[in-house]
């Protein structure tokens, strides 16, 4: 477990070079992924700050350096993965402050905050106030997200995690299309991203590729467009 033994400080960008390398390999936009300050704070052993909020804000300030370096390098889509909030909804205030410190005022890129392994029921309305463009929700491990979505005025873009990245059972394209159609009822298709429910590291590679294929096929089916 990472231990915080002193003040956290940004030294120099770590992610921008890796992102640049990946982006050079493709004509399609490549997202950059930044670890979330609230998750880092919650999962670290704090031997210095004496409080989760202080630690989360310190992380946010340091990570801002990463975000700004990515934007300066030309990255157009920056995603912050901050899943642990789903298990700590009482801490929403700290989470909101930390994300704000991290992303408020960032320009030149579309920013997102992604969650997984649970739902955002009860905090989804407040999340609409976050200074980001996209909110990511896990509908596989967080089925409560359906009700949350359908009962909240959702004004941002949605990153919808609709294929289960933690189980090898392969969805059918029809299943995926069905989910996408249902989502389109709550979020206009032009504000909708379709993605796996979380990172694909939990699956064997071959299965991960199959999941992506069926996801794309299903999304295209929902659009009425050939995959």
């Amino acid at each position: 477990q990472p231990e915080i033994t002193g003040a956290i400080k940004f030294k120099e960008p770590v992610l921008a070079a890796a992102w640049q390398f990946a982006q050079e390999k493709s004509s399609r936009p490549v997202k950059a992924i930044v670890p979330g300050p609230y998750t880092l704070a919650t999962l670290s052993a704090d031997k210095h700050y004496g409080g989760r909020e202080k630690l989360a804000l310190a992380f946010a300030e340091a990570l801002r350096g990463e975000v700004e370096a990515l934007a300066a390098a030309g990255c157009k889509q920056i995603q912050v993965n901050d899943p642990v909030i789903v298990f700590n909804k009482d801490d929403y205030g700290t989470f909101h402050k930390a994300i704000t410190k991290l992303l408020d005022g960032v320009s030149g890129a579309e920013t997102g905050v992604y969650t997984w392994f649970g739902d955002c029921a009860g905090i989804l309305a407040q999340m609409q106030e976050l200074p980001c463009d996209v909110i990511g929700l896990d509908f596989a491990a967080g089925p409560g997200n359906w009700e949350a979505l359908e009962s909240t005025t959702f004004e941002k873009k949605l990153g919808a995690g609709i294929v289960d990245a933690r189980n090898t059972r392969l969805e059918s394209a029809a299943e995926v299309a069905e989910s996408v159609k249902r989502l389109s009822g709550a979020v206009a298709p032009e504000r909708l991203y379709v993605n796996p429910s979380c990172g694909l590291e939990y699956l064997p590679r071959e299965v991960a590729l199959e999941k992506l294929k069926v996801m794309v096929e299903g999304a295209r089916q929902a659009e009425g467009v050939a995959a």
């Binding site: 189980n167 090898t168 939990y202 064997p204 071959e206 299965v207």
Partner: protein
């Protein structure tokens, strides 16, 4: 409670010790020759028969070593097993539960990968999976050897599931399978059976009750003493519900949290009808505890429990330790128990 000074010799099925019973958790380090043999077998350089011969040799080594060190109840040491879930679901050398197979490589930790099992069809007992090895080990000694099984909840939690509509459905069918194996062990003569459930606290609110029911389905009505081993994790979240597990003993890794579980006992109690399995040495460090350290831990436990209800073990299996480290860990444990028994004037 006065304990008889002269004890009956263990019949090999029931333990002789009546207080601070010492045992191990399950696995030991493999001797080098066996590690090499497993690798050779995987490459097809030696055959199954040769590997089994060496597995038995290493098992005999550990049975003799446990006797020599003085453990009251023994384990066979799991020389033949790789992973505690994969052994029952497709590992070479194990007989897989029907409906299970090993899947592709999945990242476990850092850049380590393993074949995570998949439940792909209805789960059925394939016949005895652990009985031959248990019989072999028990045949070598007069001291009781525990049967060693992985619990239904953990089996399902640590596998992919492509067959059952819900996790609960899978867990209940798995419990029936594990039950058949427990019955087979008892028919062969086993009196103590340990059901490992390290994943049991994964989802405290969602389905701990399914885990309790699965344990009931697994053990109810079987004439044996059941123990469960729950290591690490957020035990505090399931402490009260855990008392409902229909087992005689819950074994917990006390040393790892420096006996903080005793606060949970003080605050929330511990089922009076159960024994407590106390992990007194940290299985995941090379550092060998001192006898005094182990005694201190035991004394703290004995403030809350009478010695007749306490079993003494390492925190966890010892397979991550070398053979020598494992032996050293067991020795300090047994020596500490001897000293404490002398202090308390119990045999």
């Amino acid at each position: 409670m006065v304990v008889e000074k002269t004890q009956e010799k263990s019949t090999g099925l029931v333990k002789a010790s009546t207080a601070l019973t010492t045992t191990a958790v399950g696995s030991f380090g493999r001797p080098d020759y066996l590690t090499k043999a497993r690798s050779a077998f995987a490459k097809g350089e030696i055959d199954r028969g040769e590997l089994e011969r060496l597995e038995k040799q290493a098992t005999e080594y550990w049975i003799r070593m446990q006797e020599k060190i003085g453990l009251d109840v023994l384990v066979h040491g799991e020389m033949e097993r790789g992973d505690m879930v994969a052994y029952f679901s497709g590992e070479k050398g194990g007989l897989p539960i029907e409906g299970m197979k090993l899947g592709g490589l999945v990242r476990s930790y850092g850049n380590r990968y393993y074949h995570k099992p998949i439940i792909h069809d209805r789960l059925e007992w394939p016949g005895p999976m652990t009985v031959d090895m248990w019989k072999y080990a028990q045949g070598l000694t007069d001291r009781p050897v525990k049967g060693m099984l992985t619990g239904a909840y953990t089996m399902v939690e640590w596998s992919f599931d492509e067959h059952y509509p819900t996790r609960r459905d899978a867990v209940m069918d798995m419990a029936k399978v594990i039950r058949r194996e427990a019955e087979a062990l008892v028919a062969a003569g086993a009196k103590y059976i340990q059901i490992d459930e390290p994943a049991i606290h994964t989802r405290p609110e969602a389905d701990f009750d399914a885990a309790v029911e699965a344990m009931r389905v697994t053990v109810e009505g079987i004439d044996a003493e059941f123990h469960t081993h729950i290591c690490y994790g957020e035990v505090e979240k399931v402490w009260t519900a855990m008392q409902e597990l229909p087992v005689k003993q819950i074994h917990l890794a006390f040393k790892n949290t420096d006996f903080a579980y005793l606060d949970l006992v003080r605050e929330h109690g511990y089922d009076q009808s159960k024994d407590l399995g106390v992990g007194v040495t940290d299985s995941h460090t090379r550092f060998i505890e001192t006898v005094d350290e182990v005694k201190d831990g035991l004394r703290r436990v004995l403030e809350l429990f009478p010695p007749e209800r306490v079993w003494v073990l390492p925190d966890c299996g010892l397979k991550t330790r070398t053979v020598e480290e494992g032996e050293a860990k067991l020795k300090v444990m047994v020596e500490a128990v001897r000293d404490i028994k002398r202090e308390l004037e119990i045999e």
